[in-house]
C-alpha cells in the first residue's frame, strides 16, 4: 500500500478511561494520545499504575466493567474503532491484524488445552484453514519461534513447557495470523535475564522479517533502548514525554524521564548509590489539579499548580512540562559523586 501521506496504523486521540470503583471514580487514563506508523516500534514506559496496560486494554477492547472509555478515540488505519460500525470491524481485527502478547506466560495459556490446540484454534478461526492445514502451519510457527521438535511439542500441555518456552508459544499465537500490529504487555517481566534476551531478539527478528509494528509496554528502560525506535513515557495516566529513543535517552526533557533514566542501574556504573525519585505516584482517585509529578519533582515551582500543555521539543518529540530540558537532578548527581569511591 502506498500512502501519499502515511497514515498511522494505530492512532489514539485524547483517550480518557475511568473506573467506577467502590471508593470512587478512578481516572485510569487522563488524555493519552499517540500514533504508531507501519513497521515502527513504540515503547510505552511507566511505573505500575501509570496506565500503560490500561492503554493496551483499551486498544484491544478489553476494558470491562467497572471501567469505560469516557472520551477520546482509537483509530485503526484512519478509521475509528469506537463507533458502532467500528466496533464490529474491531472484533474481526482483534486477534488477527491486531494481536497481543500478555505479561504472564504461566497463566495466559489454557492448562487443559495442548499447545497445538491453542494454535489450531486461532488459525482455524481467523485464517479459515482446515484442521490438517492449521496443524501444519502451527508446527511451522513453533519452529519459527525456536521451539525444537515442533510436531511432538504440539501434543504437549502448557505445564510441560518452561516459562520462556510458554512465552515463545504466546508469540507464535500472536503472529499466527500475520498481524499488522502486535501489542506486547511486559512480555519478559516474568522471565530470567538470559531468556528475556532471547525473547526480545525473537521480537526484533519478526519485526524485521514481517514488517510488524510493535507497541511494547514495559517498565524497564533497558529493554526499550534495545528494541524501540520511539518512546512514550507515561505518568499518572498521561504521556509526559514522547520522542525518538535516541533523543529521549540522550537528552530527556521531562524531570520524570530524567529521573527514571538515572535511577535505572547500569552495569558500567561504579557509583555506590543509585539516584532515587523520592515519594510515590499520586492516587488516580483524586489526581492533582496541576502537573501530576509536582510532588516528586525537584524543580517544581508555582506554575506547576496548573496543568502544563503539551509542547513540541526542538528534537521533534513532545513534552508536558513548564520547564522542560531543565537538568532536574544535577544536584543529586553531584552528591552521589562525593559518595563514589
Amino acid at each position: 500500500m502506498a500512502y501519499a501521506q502515511p497514515t498511522p496504523i494505530l492512532e489514539v486521540r485524547d483517550l480518557h478511561v475511568e473506573f467506577d470503583t467502590m471508593s470512587g471514580l478512578v481516572q485510569g487514563l487522563r488524555g493519552v494520545s499517540f500514533s504508531v506508523m507501519p513497521g515502527e516500534t513504540l515503547a510505552l514506559v511507566g511505573e505500575s499504575g501509570s496506565g500503560k496496560s490500561v492503554t493496551a486494554q483499551a486498544v484491544m477492547g478489553l476494558i470491562g466493567l467497572p471501567g469505560s472509555i469516557v472520551s477520546g478515540d482509537i483509530l485503526w488505519k484512519g478509521q475509528s474503532l469506537l463507533t458502532p460500525e467500528g466496533q464490529k470491524k474491531a472484533a474481526s481485527l482483534r486477534g488477527k491484524s491486531l494481536s497481543m502478547v500478555f505479561q504472564d506466560p504461566m497463566t495466559s495459556l489454557n492448562p487443559l488445552m495442548t499447545i497445538g490446540a491453542h494454535l489450531v484454534e486461532v488459525l482455524r478461526r481467523h485464517m479459515k484453514l482446515s484442521k490438517p492445514q492449521a496443524f501444519a502451519r502451527g508446527a511451522e510457527l513453533l519452529e519459527a519461534v525456536g521451539i525444537t521438535e515442533p510436531r511432538r511439542r504440539m501434543a504437549q500441555y502448557p505445564h510441560e513447557f518452561s516459562g520462556g518456552m510458554r512465552q515463545r508459544v504466546m508469540i507464535a499465537l500472536a503472529i499466527a495470523c500475520e498481524p499488522d500490529l502486535l501489542i506486547a504487555d511486559e512480555p519478559t517481566t516474568a522471565l530470567d535475564v538470559t531468556i528475556q534476551a532471547q525473547v526480545l531478539d525473537l521480537l526484533a527478528d519478526f519485526q524485521k522479517s514481517m514488517g510488524l509494528s510493535i507497541v511494547l509496554i514495559t517498565h524497564d528502560l533497558g529493554i526499550v533502548a534495545g528494541l524501540c525506535e520511539r518512546v512514550a513515557v507515561m505518568y499518572a495516566g498521561s504521556i509526559v514525554e514522547a520522542g525518538s529513543a535516541a533523543t529521549v535517552f540522550e537528552q530527556a526533557e521531562h524531570p520524570y524521564t530524567q529521573g527514571l533514566i538515572r535511577s535505572t542501574p547500569r552495569l558500567d556504573d561504579r557509583r555506590d548509590r543509585l539516584v532515587s525519585i523520592e515519594g510515590a505516584p499520586p492516587s488516580l482517585l483524586h489526581p492533582p489539579k496541576g502537573c501530576a509529578f509536582q510532588s516528586r519533582c525537584p524543580v517544581a515551582s508555582r506554575q506547576c499548580d496548573t496543568k502544563p500543555a503539551r509542547q513540541v521539543t526542538p528534537a521533534g518529540g513532545s513534552v508536558s512540562c513548564w520547564t522542560p530540558s531543565l537538568p532536574a537532578w544535577a544536584d543529586v548527581a553531584k552528591t552521589t559523586e562525593v559518595h563514589a569511591r
Binding site: V193, P265, L267, A280
Partner: protein, 343 residues
Amino acid sequence: MTDLSNRFEPAQPVPSAPPILSVRGLCVTFDGPGEGLWGPPKKVQALDNITFDLARGKTLGLVGESGSGKSTLGRAILRRLPLSNGRVFFEGKDITAVKGEALRRLTRNIQLIFQDPYTSLNPRMKVLELIAEPLLVHGLVSSIDEARDQVVELLRLVNLPVETIDRFPHSFSGGQRQRIGIARALALKPQLIIADEPVSALDVSVRAQVVNLMQDLQQELGLTYVFIAHDLSVVRHISHDIAILHRGHMVEMAGRDAIYETPEHPYTKVLLSAVPEPDPSHRRNGGVNAPKTVPTQTLSFDGVGCRYRTCCDKAGGHCQREAPPFAKHEGGHWAACWHVGMT
C-alpha cells in the same frame, strides 16, 4: 558426597576481622518426583559444595537465575532446611546442628527480608502489630503496647511517617510496604540480614529508594547483608562481593568491580551480556547479540564433568571428564572453570 578437603582451598585466615558468616562445602538435596507413581524419589541436588566467607559489615550479592539455588542457599543459612552436607559458621560458632531453643535464639541474629511486599505482610495486621510481632514472639516485650516506642523508633529508621503506625498494609505503596518488611526484620537487632530479592517486585524509581535505605542502614547499624538477586543490574551498587550461582554451583565469586570489569566464568559473561542496557546504541539486531547459551537451566545433565559445559562454547574434552574445582585465581577471583587463567 566426595571428600571436600581437596575441592577447595581452605579460606585464608584473616586475623583482624573474622568473618561473621562462613559456609563450608554446603550441600542441600531434595527429593524430586520419582519414576511413575510409586517409584523411589529421585534426588535433586539443589546446592552442591558451596563455600564462602562474609566479613562483618559487608554485603555479598548472590546472583543466579530461577532454579539456581539462590533462595535455597538463603534458607539453608537461616537453617530453615536440612543440610545434607557441609557446615555453616556464624560468628565463628558452628550452627549446623543447632536446634530447638538455641536455634530460636540464633534467628534473632539472622533475619530475612522477603521478595514480595504484597504477600509477605498479613493484611489484617496493623503496622504496629506487624513490626512488634517478632519482639513478642521472642519474648522481648510482653504486650503489643509495650512495643510501641520501639516500633516508632524502627519506623523512623526506615523513613516511614510515625502516624502510619495504626494503618493496615493495603494503604501503603510497594516501596513503603518493603520498608515495613525491613523494619520488621530489624526489630530484633540482627547482625546478618538475608534479603531475598528485596527490590525485584518494585518499580524502578522506588527500587533505588529501598536499595539506598538498605545502604544507609548498613552504615548506621553495621549490618551484614546477603543480597539475593536474579540479575546483575541492581547488585553492583550495594554489594562488596558478588557470587554467581548456576544450577546449585557457585561458578564465580569476586569483588564487585572485578565481576563487572573482568568476568572470568563464561556464565558470568552471559549474564552480563543479557542485561538490557538503557542505551539506544546497544540495539538488538535480531539474534546477533544474543547470548550463545540457549537454555542455560533446562538442559539435562548426566552427572560427569562441568555442569555448564552443555551451554558453553569453550567446552572441551577436559570439561566432559572432570568437574572444575571452585578455586582461587589471580586477582582474588574464585571461579569454577578449567579455562580461567588459560587464555
